[in-house]
Amino acid sequence: MTGTAAHPARGPGDRLTGLFWRRPKLLTALLIAPPLLWLGVVYVGSLVALLIQSFYSIDRFSGIVVKEFTLRTYAELLIPSNFDVIVRTVTMAAAVTLASVVVAFPVAFFAARHAKGRWKAVFYLGIMLPLWSSYLVKVYAWKLILAKEGIVTWAAEGIGAGNLLNAVLALPVIGGNSLSTSYIGTFLVFLYVWLPYMILPMQASLERVPTSMLEASADLGAGGWRTFRSVILPLALPGVIAGSIFTFSLTLGDYIIPQIIGSSRFFIGQTVYSLQGTAGNIPLAAAFAVVPIAIMLVYLTVARKMGAFDAL
């Protein structure tokens, strides 16, 4: 008999393949090292730096950062004017998130369960297309749409709903001079800008619910509403939570939309921006920046406790 049981290595490529075959973990390590360095050092590192800064304070007279550990800066967050900013931002983020869930669900459900082939492509294009254009362009476009001379007012008057619009704008707190200078306006633009981030994960999770699951529910006597509550929603919940993480945290951190559209009252993002810039109060800016992080951690913990990730 001639011949061997194995081919000889044909070059460095073969030898490298052999090395990875003998040590599979080596390949994994090589692949994840660069992103790990990036995320670990640059991202987590700066986050830690931020956290440390928030425990410093600022000398009121000299304006110099005092590098001593103190909780005084955090206490400053509780001053009414600062605390209002937090409440305002969190309320807005919660409202935007809830509205996104309601608006996104039918779209995601249709895309996941009914759209096929060409319609699916139309769906993805429709959702993604707004993401391809500049965020600023969209926000300014909305400013025009919502302005007093804009198309919404014009249309409302055209169909005889001008009084209704005025009544809505006359509401305390959320109302204002026009839609573009009220919280309603800010809310609408946030909702529009972040909606794709809710639809996409929702659609992905709805797509993973097998049709037989819905049929089983109907088979066992459940009507549409019961199936929605007991089967579809719990199974789609991981997607809803994933989407809400996006809409909630993006709203918490945004400082451009409320600056362009809405009343002139500050949101967290704007406060951080002005504190680290003109005011030069880095510790307070850092403390403000920690607030959304803390809120998200609490939110995720509660979601986990409620079993939102059980179906994963």
Binding site: D219, L220, A222, S230, G307, A311
Partner: protein, 340 residues
């Protein structure tokens, strides 16, 4: 007596595909009824027409005499064991079983008691707190069964109920399903592509082919007296004899079926041929007899017509491949069929 399920000239078309084509069917109350056929033969669509997940394009589906035309699935007194079981992954086994009761507004305590009772029925006592993901395939199947039976359906539908189980478990479940059905007296309708399963469990079988019912009968009728070539071919491993061979062995010029186990190897026989292959099956050996290079002589298997399968029971001498044998069978073993 009103049949439990009745199809009156029911069709279901998907575009130009006739998944179910003018099917008439009556399933008696208390029957263990099998819908047997290859994939795409329309059997599953028929099951879904009973459960209500498909609407007939034409014809009427009746359950206990009632026209189901306008009755949605959730209002039909019928429950299904799904092929993939479709257990709710976010609910415990107990909540899965109690789901139908919850929907009907049964209170928690009664639900729990009933669910436990059902779990005991399918021999899963003590599994109530687990999640479906923590169960084996066979256990999940039992949960699916319990979840359907807890609603006391008048007809239980089973879609390839044993398809995902391994052989040993499948045989055990076959016996269990059969005895469960006899104990409960509920009409069972099950879909399968496994002819062994259909013959061993059901007391009536409908054989589907291309959207139509090819034959309905008891397992013995289906197996011993197949109505068409398709049935003979699909159910069991009968020899389907073309008219030429039937004529060559003394019958009329018609299609006929001849079961391998009805054929004996003899010294003198109705037909002679060459053994061209043998497959050991444990309980016997299945040999293939064909004309081989034999001359075209009366009494020999004709050329170009394929072979005849013969089952040699274990213990009998198996002729060697290449040897010439004579085949014989009893007069009644040759069963003539319709042209198709």
């Amino acid at each position: 007596m009103t049949p439990a399920v009745e199809f009156q000239s029911v069709s279901r078309h998907f575009g130009t595909v006739k998944a179910v084509d003018r099917v008439d069917l009556a399933i008696a109350e208390g029957a263990f009824f099998a819908m047997l056929g290859p994939s795409g033969s329309g059997k599953t669509t028929c099951l879904r027409l009973i459960s209500g997940f498909e609407m007939p394009s034409a014809g009427t589906v009746r359950i206990f005499g009632e026209d189901m035309g306008a009755v949605p699935p959730n209002r039909r007194h019928v429950n299904t064991v799904f092929q993939d079981y479709a257990l709710f992954p976010h609910m415990s086994v107990r909540d899965n079983v109690g789901y139908g009761l919850m929907v009907r507004g049964v209170d928690r305590r009664a639900r729990r008691a009933k669910a436990e009772e059902m779990l005991a029925l399918v021999k899963l006592d003590g599994f109530g707190d687990r999640k479906p993901a923590q169960l084996s395939g066979g256990q999940r199947q039992r949960v699916a069964l319990a979840r359907a039976l807890v609603n006391e359906p008048r007809v239980l539908l089973l879609d390839e109920p044993l398809g995902a189980l391994d052989l040993k478990l499948r045989e055990a479940m076959q016996d269990e399903l059969k005895s469960l059905q006899q104990r409960l007296g509920i009409t069972f309708v099950f879909v399968t592509h496994d002819q062994g399963e259909a013959l061993s469990m059901a007391d009536r079988v409908a054989v589907f082919n291309e959207g139509r019912v090819a034959q309905v009968g008891t397992p013995a009728e289906i197996y011993e007296r197949p109505a068409t070539r398709f049935v003979a071919d699909f159910v069991g491993s009968s020899n389907v004899l073309p008219p030429e061979i039937t004529a060559a062995v003394g019958g009329p010029r018609a299609w006929a079926s001849l079961r391998p186990e009805a054929i004996r190897i003899a010294s003198e026989g109705r037909l002679r041929g060459i053994v061209t292959g043998a497959r050991y099956l444990g309980a016997g050996t299945r040999i293939e007899v064909s004309a081989g290079a034999l001359p075209r002589t009366p009494g020999y298997l004709p050329q170009d017509e394929g072979g005849i399968a013969v089952l040699v029971p274990a213990g009998r001498a198996v002729p060697a491949v290449g040897s010439e044998v004579a085949l014989d069978w009893d007069e009644g073993a040759l069963h003539l069929m319709e042209g198709a």
